[in-house]
C-alpha cells in the first residue's frame, strides 16, 4: 500500500459548517417518469453523506443533477463548490486509453504538468491496488479492475478540486459494488483516510447498509417513485450494528410498500 504524498493530496483545510450544496424542492421528470420530486437536501462542507434507496429510486439522477449533467424540472440547486469530482455507477473509461492514461486524463484536463502527472497517476493506481496494470486497456481488465480505475480517476479529479480554493465535492455512485470483500475493506479505509486528510464533502451512494454506516456521518434513505428523502440517521456515536438493523428495518418498510418497484 502506498502513502499518498503531500503533493498528491494537499494540506487539509478547516472544516466549514455552512452548506455547500442545497437542494430546494427539486423535481426531475423523464417524460412521464418522475425520478425525483420535492427533494430537499443540504450537505455541509467536509461532510460525508451516504445515500441508500431501492434500485431505481433516483440516486444516480440526483448525483447527475448535482454534477450539472442534467437539467432540473423544478426547484433550485445551490452549490458553493467548484465542479464536483464524480465517480459514475458505470466505470465509463475511455476505451481507447490505457488505465493509466484514463487516470492521467483527469490531471491533464486540469492542466497538471506532464512529469507531475505521471507520478501522481502511478500513486493513484497503487492506491486502488492496480500498480503495474497501468498499461492495460479497459477491455483487458476485469469488471472490478475497471471500477477501480474509475475510482482512481475520480480521486485524481477530487485532488485537483482540493488544491483549488474553496470547498470541494465528491460524488460517488456505488464505487465498490464490483469488488471483493477484502479489496473493498482496504479501499474504504483509503477513502476515509483521504477524506479525513482533505475533507471534501462526499455524497456516497451504496446498497450496502453496513458500508453506509461505517463510512458516512449521515445516512439518507430515499423512497422510490418518486425519490424523496424518507429519513436520515446520524452515524456518529451510534453503535454500528444497531444502526444497521434500524436502517434495514426502515428500508424493508419503504421498499416493501412500493410493491414490485414498477410503480
Amino acid at each position: 500500500m502506498t502513502m499518498i504524498t503531500q503533493q498528491t493530496w494537499p494540506v487539509p483545510r478547516q472544516r466549514d459548517a455552512g452548506p455547500v450544496v442545497r437542494l430546494d424542492g427539486v423535481s426531475k421528470a423523464f417524460g412521464e417518469v418522475t425520478a425525483l420530486a420535492e427533494f430537499d437536501l443540504e450537505v455541509h462542507a467536509g461532510e460525508f453523506v451516504c445515500l441508500i434507496g431501492a434500485s431505481g429510486c433516483g440516486k444516480s439522477t440526483l448525483l447527475n443533477l448535482l454534477a450539472g449533467l442534467e437539467s432540473l424540472t423544478e426547484g433550485r440547486i445551490t452549490r458553493a463548490t467548484s465542479q464536483p469530482a464524480v465517480m459514475f455507477q458505470d466505470p465509463a473509461l475511455m476505451p481507447w486509453l490505457t488505465a493509466a492514461r484514463n487516470v492521467e486524463l483527469a490531471l491533464q484536463l486540469a492542466g497538471v504538468g506532464r512529469a507531475d502527472r505521471k507520478t501522481r497517476t502511478n500513486e493513484f493506481l497503487e492506491l486502488v491496488r492496480l500498480g503495474g496494470l497501468g498499461d492495460k486497456r479497459p477491455h483487458e481488465l476485469s469488471g472490478g479492475m475497471r471500477q477501480r480505475v474509475a475510482l482512481a480517476r475520480a480521486l485524481a479529479s477530487a485532488s485537483i478540486g482540493a488544491e483549488n480554493d474553496g470547498p470541494c465535492l465528491l460524488l460517488m455512485d456505488e464505487p465498490f459494488a464490483a469488488l471483493d470483500a477484502i479489496t473493498r475493506d482496504v479501499l474504504q479505509q483509503e477513502l476515509l483516510r483521504i477524506w479525513r486528510a482533505t475533507s471534501p464533502a462526499v455524497l456516497f451512494v451504496t446498497h450496502d447498509v453496513r458500508e453506509a454506516v461505517r463510512l458516512g456521518q449521515r445516512v439518507v434513505l430515499l423512497s422510490s417513485r418518486p425519490g424523496r428523502v424518507v429519513q436520515q440517521w446520524s452515524a456518529d456515536g451510534v453503535p454500528e450494528s444497531a444502526l444497521v438493523g434500524q436502517i434495514n428495518a426502515r428500508l424493508r418498510e419503504v421498499i416493501g410498500c412500493h410493491g414490485n418497484g414498477s410503480g
Binding site: 443533477l65 449533467l69 442534467e70 437539467s71 432540473l72 424540472t73 452549490r79 458553493a80 467548484s82
Partner: protein, 287 residues
C-alpha cells in the same frame, strides 16, 4: 463563488460544444422555428452574398449570373413541366438502383465483415472499387449492355454497392463484442445473429454507409445518364447538367446544380435524417 442555478442546467449557457446533454422538450412552436429557421437564414444569407457579388460585378455575367437569372432558368423548366419529368426520370432510376444496391450490398457486407477469408480476399477490392470513378465503367457498360437502362443500372450498382457494403463492415466492426456473445449464448444461428444482433447493432454505421451509398448512386447515375439520351432512355438531370456544361450556359449549369442539390437535400431531410434520429433516439445517443 456561490452559483445559483434556476430550472435549467449549465447546458443552456450556449456552450453547445461543451455539453451534449439532454434538454427539456421545447414547445412545438419553438421546435418548428428551431428546425426551419437556421437553414432558411443560411439560404437567405447565401443568396444575399451571391446577389451582392453579382451586383459588384467582379466577374462578368457569363461567369456569375444573377440569382434571378438562375431562378428564371429553373422556373422556366418547372413551368412547362420539364423539370418534373427530368427529376422524375432521374429519381426513379436512382431509387431503383439504390434499392437493388442495398439488397446486394447488405449480405455482401455481412459476409465480408464476418468471414475472415472473404474479407482478406475481397475486402481491399471493395475499397478499391469505391475509388474507381463511375465514368470508368461507362465504355464497358455500353459495350456489354448496349444503350439500355441495364447499362445505367450497372454503372449505378458498381458505384453504390461497395460504398454500402463498406459502411456495413465499418458498422459491424464497431459492435461491442459482448453483444454477439450474448447472441451466441442464446444459441442464435448465423441468420438469427445477423438479423437480430449484427444488423441492428451496426445500424448507426450502416446508415452512414447507406447515406454515402445514396450519394454514390446519385453521382454514378449522373455519370451514367451521360451515356446516351434518347426518348427511350429518358432525359435526366445528368443530361441537363452536361448540356449546360457543353453550352457554357452558367445559368443552366447552376440550375442543374440547384436541382441536384434539391434532390440531395430533400432525400437527406425526408429519408435519412428521420431514420437517423429514430435510430439514435432509440439508443439514447445523439442530440
Amino acid at each position: 463563488m456561490a452559483m445559483v442555478r434556476d430550472d435549467r442546467s449549465i447546458q443552456d449557457d450556449l456552450d453547445a460544444l461543451d455539453t451534449p446533454l439532454e434538454s427539456a422538450p421545447p414547445s412545438r412552436w419553438r421546435r418548428i422555428i428551431r428546425v426551419v429557421l437556421p437553414p432558411l437564414v443560411a439560404f437567405v444569407l447565401f443568396i444575399a452574398v451571391w446577389q451582392a457579388l453579382w451586383a459588384l460585378a467582379f466577374w462578368p455575367e457569363y461567369q456569375l449570373p444573377a440569382p434571378l437569372t438562375v431562378w428564371a432558368a429553373i422556373s422556366d423548366r418547372f413551368a412547362d413541366g420539364e423539370a418534373l419529368s427530368i427529376l422524375w426520370t432521374s429519381l426513379h432510376r436512382a431509387v431503383l438502383g439504390f434499392g437493388v444496391a442495398v439488397l446486394i450490398a447488405t449480405p455482401l457486407g455481412l459476409v465480408v465483415a464476418k468471414v475472415k477469408v472473404v474479407r482478406a480476399a475481397i475486402g481491399p477490392l471493395l475499397s478499391g472499387l469505391q475509388s474507381l470513378p463511375s465514368v470508368a465503367w461507362v465504355p464497358a457498360a455500353i459495350l456489354w449492355f448496349g444503350l439500355t437502362d441495364s447499362a445505367i443500372y450497372m454503372v449505378v450498382l458498381l458505384g453504390a454497392v461497395p460504398s454500402i457494403a463498406n459502411g456495413l463492415v465499418a458498422g459491424i466492426d464497431q459492435i461491442p463484442p459482448i453483444l454477439p456473445k450474448v447472441a451466441h449464448v442464446l444459441s442464435a444461428g448465423r441468420w438469427a445473429l445477423a438479423r437480430h444482433v449484427l444488423l441492428p447493432a451496426a445500424l448507426p454505421g450502416y446508415l452512414a454507409g447507406l447515406k454515402q451509398g445514396w450519394a454514390f448512386s446519385w453521382r454514378s447515375l449522373m455519370a451514367a445518364e451521360l451515356i446516351a439520351v434518347s426518348p427511350q432512355l429518358g432525359f435526366g438531370l445528368g443530361a441537363l447538367l452536361d448540356n449546360g456544361r457543353a453550352l457554357n450556359d452558367m445559368p443552366m449549369v447552376i440550375a442543374a446544380i440547384c436541382l441536384i442539390l434539391l434532390v440531395g437535400i430533400g432525400v437527406d431531410l425526408l429519408v435519412f435524417r428521420p431514420l437517423e434520429r429514430a435510430v439514435l433516439r432509440a439508443r439514447g445517443l445523439g442530440c
